[in-house]
Structure formats: structure tokens, C-alpha cells
Amino acid sequence: MRKLTFKNGIHPEESKVSTSALPLETILPKAGLEMVYPLVQNTGAPCKPIVQIGDEVCLGQKIADSEAFVSSPVHSSVSGIVKGMRKALTPTGVIADAIVIENDGKNIKWDTLKSYNDYTLLSKEEIIKKIREAGVVGLGGAGFPTHVKLSPPPDKKIDTVIINASECEPYLTSDHRALLDETERVLEGIRVVLRIFPDAKALIAIEDNKPDAIEKLTHATKNENSMEVKSLVTKYPQGSEKQLIYSCLKREVPSGGLPADIGALVVNVDTLIAIERAVLRDRPLIRKIVTLDGGAVKNPGNYRVRIGMSYRDFLEAVGGLKSEPAKMISGGPMMGVSMFSLDVPVIKVSSAFLCLTADEVKTYTERNCIRCGKCVSHCPMGLLPYTLNQNVVHGEMDEFLKNNGMDCVECGSCSYVCPSKRHIAQSIRSTRRHRLEQMRRGK
């Protein structure tokens, strides 16, 4: 099998061995624990609470929703009492309104949790409605509501659904473990998605540093006509949507466009499990598979964690720290957000929690650009990161736009390879975000 890849990119140290061999474990919040549900957990409109302080809620009950199309409801991941509403910091750095629920430990289930559906009897619309009601969003990191993604405009014909199992970020192994430990659920999730796009073919794209997953999936999809396992070269950022599509199909998403424009749709592994739970069993998204790793962690592993549980409680439940961390990151070391507090709830897009020691993460001072060109030869988007960095430093917005700064995928490869340790990705990202915000405001 020819291995697929994209142009440029980097090879950071993988650091996956401490967790990749450990099976998934489930962490349940203890009774009496306060669970925090931010009303902004994903891309799209914020939700409004539909419960009141003092209400008793069940496990899996919808507690907040929004009328907007691009939005996703929030569900309680425990049964208990609504203690209050307050502002809460989320792992993405946003401060959002949140509902606080005290866990009574009884796990009383919401009515709908008892059903079991034969999805082949459901229409496309019914499937998509179930996915929306379950609060499923893209669990790879961006958190784009899945029901929106699965409803492309009718003129866009999807011919390929790519299952993003590349997991190119160092340390992260949650998708790898999900593929191994929940294979059948992943496949059911793919079947559901293929019900929505009956003419499409599903490509399960796995980096070749996970040979066991490739083998298991290849075996499991032997009799599936519309599924194929593809082996990808292990290279960062292989899991970036645009790079993954190029690797698999040699098609490029047009600048400013969507994968649907070129007939592709990318779904993450954990999202497929959430789809399977939502459509087959009416279970909302109330748990997330999180990789816990880093030199400061006592028991690294992959854990099914209830959404709403704080990182502090999660860490305590699995044995805590063995040494003082120098940096705590929600997500991977290339694109994750570094955190300053553990009193932050696990949300839908939490994919990893890393507590890294001073040896694993260093801080650097910027030095003069020596024009070595490494950022250019490693940029997966074909940009000139050093020029963009200069544009930002000099405040040249027009030049920044002319140099296609808005096409940056923020993968951080430029900063990674820079021998002068310049904060290239940071400068491009902040300018990009600022510009996106301006555009949203209609300027």
C-alpha cells in the first residue's frame, strides 16, 4: 500500500509510548462533586439555560440549548441539583456563562436513554436531528457542530468521507485507543454517516505509527465495500483537515472554501463514537476521551471523562501529579492551550490534558531572523511565515493579507523549526484572529 502524505510539515518527537498501550478507562465523578457546564463549548452560538437553580436534573438531560442553526445543546453528565449559574473559565481560554450542577451520585437516567434505534429505518433528516439533539460536535478540536457539517448545501456532492484517525499531535493517543477499544462503535458511526451520504466512500486515514490500529481496522472492514483503510506517513500536521484531504485525495480545499466544495467531508474518530451513541441509543454527548500525559503525571493514560468535571477533580481521580509541572496544556503540545488554573471543566473539545515538566517544555527568547528559510520549507500551506511575521511586527495588514496570511492553519510548524525561536505562529494567529473578528463585525 502506497503511503499517503502532504507537502512539507515537520517530524516532532512523538512521545506517545507512555499511553498508547493502555486501554481506555472510565472515570466517574464522585457524589457531591460540583460539575460545571459552560454554555460555550464549541463553534457557534452560545446556548441559553433551560433549567433553573434548584431544579433536579437527570443524567443525560438537556440543560441548555439555542435556536441558532450553528449551535449545539449542552447536557448534564450527572444526575443532581442545579446549584447555580456563574461565569466559568473554559480550557480554550474563554470565560463563559455556565451551569453548575452538584452530582448526587445516583446516575438517574433521562427517559430517552432507554431506547435503541435501528438507524436503517431512520430518514436522513431524523438521523441529523438525533445528532443535533445529542449535542455532537467535532471532537478533533475545532468543535464545529456535527449536524451542520453533515448538512452541506444540496449543490455540494460529497463523494468521500475521510475518517481522521491520523492523530499527528505528539503525546495524544485517544483516537488510537478509541480505534482499538471501540472499533465496532467507530464502524457503526461510519455506517450512520454513510447513510446520510449513500454515494460516498469512507476512507479511514491512519498514520503509520499506529500499525496495530491499521491492522485491526483493515481486518474489521474486510467485508465493507464502501470503507477503506489508508495508511498515512507519520508527519505533523497530517490531521489538519486541509492537509489530510490533500494526502488522501490530492485535492486542495480552495482558499476561503470548505471541504464540501471539493466533495470531501472529514470526521474525527471520537465524533463517530458520539454519532453512534446519539443515533443508535439516543445518548447525548456527556463524556470525552482524554489523553492524560506528561512527565509530571503519575498515571498517564486515556480516560473516558464526564464533561463538566474539572481538570483538578479528573487529575485527583487518577492519582494526581508526581512532580511539579512547568506547563499545563489542554490539548496537544503543538496546538493546545496552556492553562493557568486547574479549576476548569472538561468540555466537548478537550482532547488531552498534559502536565509537562521543565525538561519537556522550555521557554525561549526571540532572536533575529537569520533567513534560514526553514519556516518556508516546512509550511504545509506553502506560505512565507517569516514574511508574515515581519508584516505583523511592522503592522502591515495589507501586506499580511496579500501574502495569504488568512490561509494559515495555525499548525505551528514554523515556530517549531525556527532556530531563532521566533514566535512566528503566535504572531500570525493573533493577527488572523483579530482580522476574523473584524470581518465578523462586518468591517
Binding site: S255, K327, N368, R371, V376, L383, D407, Y416, S430
Partner: protein, 322 residues
């Protein structure tokens, strides 16, 4: 866990182990064979010029940054590289004040006044050499081996003297050859070049395209003296290898884009042959590279790599507009 001070930064949280020092050290290592060859063939005087040049470059950088109260960057080893390159571009017979004057031009005038490492638009060591060559022509063109006056292979070619087999061997090894301290041994320079390309410090594009262009043009064009073409001999003599491997590839003064590097190599090659064949100087490498240095911003401007998803969009937009 107690709340303690914790580092919070933007992404990415991990960085490669590459540093400026490592790159400069690699260049120094790559220069060593040629330096050792120079020291071996030209003796103690060559060593003193090398050391004096390095010390002056480092010293001037140190003094300048002290004087203008800028952060000290002398430990990044870039001044050492400039010092070595400057000395390698001087004849062994040059008086000992020459590397000091050259170091002043290279470090103060060319490098620091334009903002230091990475900011100079012209190669410091080369401009210093050009300055010395035009200001002190007799000292810079007096070639000796073991104190005996000699001529360089390129002067011979200019005068219409064809090389014999022994000349090829001399040029490859650097034995019994007139020339600058660092340019005489082709084999030593090639070793350094292979090291740099294998370590990915430089790309193959500039040196290979440079040498290829010189080879082809020396094959096609005729020298003024009308002698038969000796393209391979043209490659291994003079400052060509030193220039192609170590000077034209200088990060600050060469294009950053892959296609730009190819143009840089070809441009240097054309200019070198034109100066060698039809110009007043026997050797044209320094001036060829210096001229191309000036064209680098323009080259980079026109050689931007294609951005993912962009040109396709333009095409689609065109089609949609019709």
C-alpha cells in the same frame, strides 16, 4: 496541588533543537577542512591571518554592541564564521593589518550598521574582500607559495595557458597552487559542502545550480585568449567552490524560496563566467555573488511558493466570472 507559578505561552509548546549556534557551528565544522588545507599549504602565516581575522570580527562585534548598548550576540558564533570566511578570501602574503581592516568593514559597516545578524543585505566577508581588493590591489593580488611568487590557475587561463594533468591534481588537492588561503583545495571545500547539505544547513540548490551554470557556460563560451574550453578545470579553480558553497548560500543574502535559490545559483554562474572570460579581473566569484545579493529581495518577491488552495481558487473564480 498548591497553586504555583506556571508557564503560560502561546503554541507551539515544543520547539526543535535547532539553534543559531548549532547552525553556525556546523558551518565552522564545514570550513575546517579548507582552513586546515590552507594552513598546511601556506604555513604559519595563514594560521595567523585566520586567527587574527576571527579575533577582529568577534572583537568588533563585541565593541559595537557595547558602544551602542545592544544585547550581546557574539556567542551566536556568526562573527566567527565571518572571520573565517574573510581570512579564507585573503592571499597569504597580505599584511597583517588587512584582516583587521576587512573585519571592520564586514562587521561594523556591513553587518551591525544594518541591524546585525540576518539583517545585512550583502555578504559581509565578501564585501570586505571587495573593499580590500579595490583599495589595495597590489597586496590583494600578490600570490606566493612558500614565499615564492606564483600565479593563480585563473591568471594562467586568462593568459591562454592550458592546464595539464598535474594542474588538475594540484587544483583538486591544493598543492603548489597560488590563491587565497581558503580556496586552494577543491576536495576540502567539497567535503565541507557535502557536510552542510547532508546536515540540511544549506540546500543543494544554490551551489549545484551555480556550478552547473559555470560548467555549461565555460563549455559553450570561449575565453578571450581563444583557448579550448576546460569546464571542469574552471570549476575547481579560483574562489568558485568557496563562493558557491559558503558565500552564495549565506542565509541573510540569498533567496529564501526554493525557486529563488535556483535563480540565485544560475545568476551567480552567469556573472562569474562573464567576469572571468570578458572582464578585467581573472576571478569573478566575489563580484558575481555581491551583485546577486542585491537582487535577492526582487528574486524572493517573484518566487513565492504556491499557496495551498489559492491558485485553484483564482482559476475557479475566473471560470465563474465568465
Amino acid at each position: 496541588m498548591e497553586e504555583k507559578l506556571i508557564t503560560v505561552t502561546s503554541t507551539p509548546h515544543i520547539r526543535s533543537k535547532d539553534t543559531i549556534e548549532k547552525i553556525m557551528l556546523d558551518v565552522i565544522i564545514a570550513l575546517m577542512p579548507a582552513c586546515i588545507a590552507g594552513a598546511y599549504f601556506f604555513g604559519i602565516k595563514a594560521i595567523s591571518i585566520l586567527l587574527l581575522s576571527v579575533a577582529s570580527c568577534v572583537g568588533f562585534e563585541l565593541l559595537f554592541q557595547k558602544a551602542v548598548k545592544k544585547p550581546q550576540t557574539v556567542t551566536d558564533l556568526s562573527a566567527v564564521v565571518t572571520g573565517l570566511l574573510l581570512a579564507m578570501n585573503l592571499p597569504v602574503s597580505s599584511p597583517l593589518w588587512m584582516p583587521i581592516v576587512g573585519a571592520f568593514v564586514a562587521i561594523i559597516l556591513v553587518k551591525q550598521l544594518f541591524g546585525g545578524l540576518g539583517q545585512n543585505f550583502i555578504n559581509p566577508a565578501l564585501l570586505a574582500r571587495a573593499f580590500l581588493l579595490t583599495s589595495y590591489l597590489p597586496e590583494m593580488t600578490e600570490w606566493t607559495v612558500d614565499g615564492v611568487a606564483t600565479v593563480t590557475p585563473l591568471e594562467n587561463l586568462k593568459n591562454g595557458v592550458l592546464p595539464v594533468t598535474q594542474d588538475y591534481i594540484n587544483a583538486l588537492l591544493g598543492t603548489n597552487l597560488g590563491g587565497c588561503i581558503g580556496e586552494v583545495s577543491a576536495v576540502a571545500l567539497l567535503l565541507g559542502g557535502i557536510y552542510l547539505i547532508l546536515k540540511r544547513v544549506i540546500s543543494w540548490r544554490i551551489p549545484v545550480m551555480y556550478l552547473l551554470t559555470v560548467f555549461l557556460l565555460s563549455f559553450v563560451l570561449r575565453r578571450g585568449s581563444g583557448i579550448a574550453p576546460v569546464p571542469f578545470y574552471e570549476l575547481i579553480t579560483g574562489g568558485l567552490l568557496l563562493g558557491a558553497i559558503f558565500m552564495a548560500t549565506d542565509y541573510s543574502t540569498s533567496p529564501i524560496t526554493p525557486n529563488g535559490k535556483i535563480i540565485m545559483g544560475i545568476g551567480c554562474g552567469i556573472l562569474t563566467v562573464l567576469i572571468r572570460f570578458y572582464g578585467g579581473y581573472p576571478e569573478g566569484v566575489s563580484f558575481a555573488i555581491l551583485l546577486m545579493n542585491l537582487a535577492v529581495p526582487l528574486i524572493d518577491r517573484f518566487c513565492k511558493p504556491r499557496v495551498y488552495g489559492v491558485s485553484k481558487k483564482k482559476k475557479q473564480a475566473l471560470r465563474g466570472g465568465e
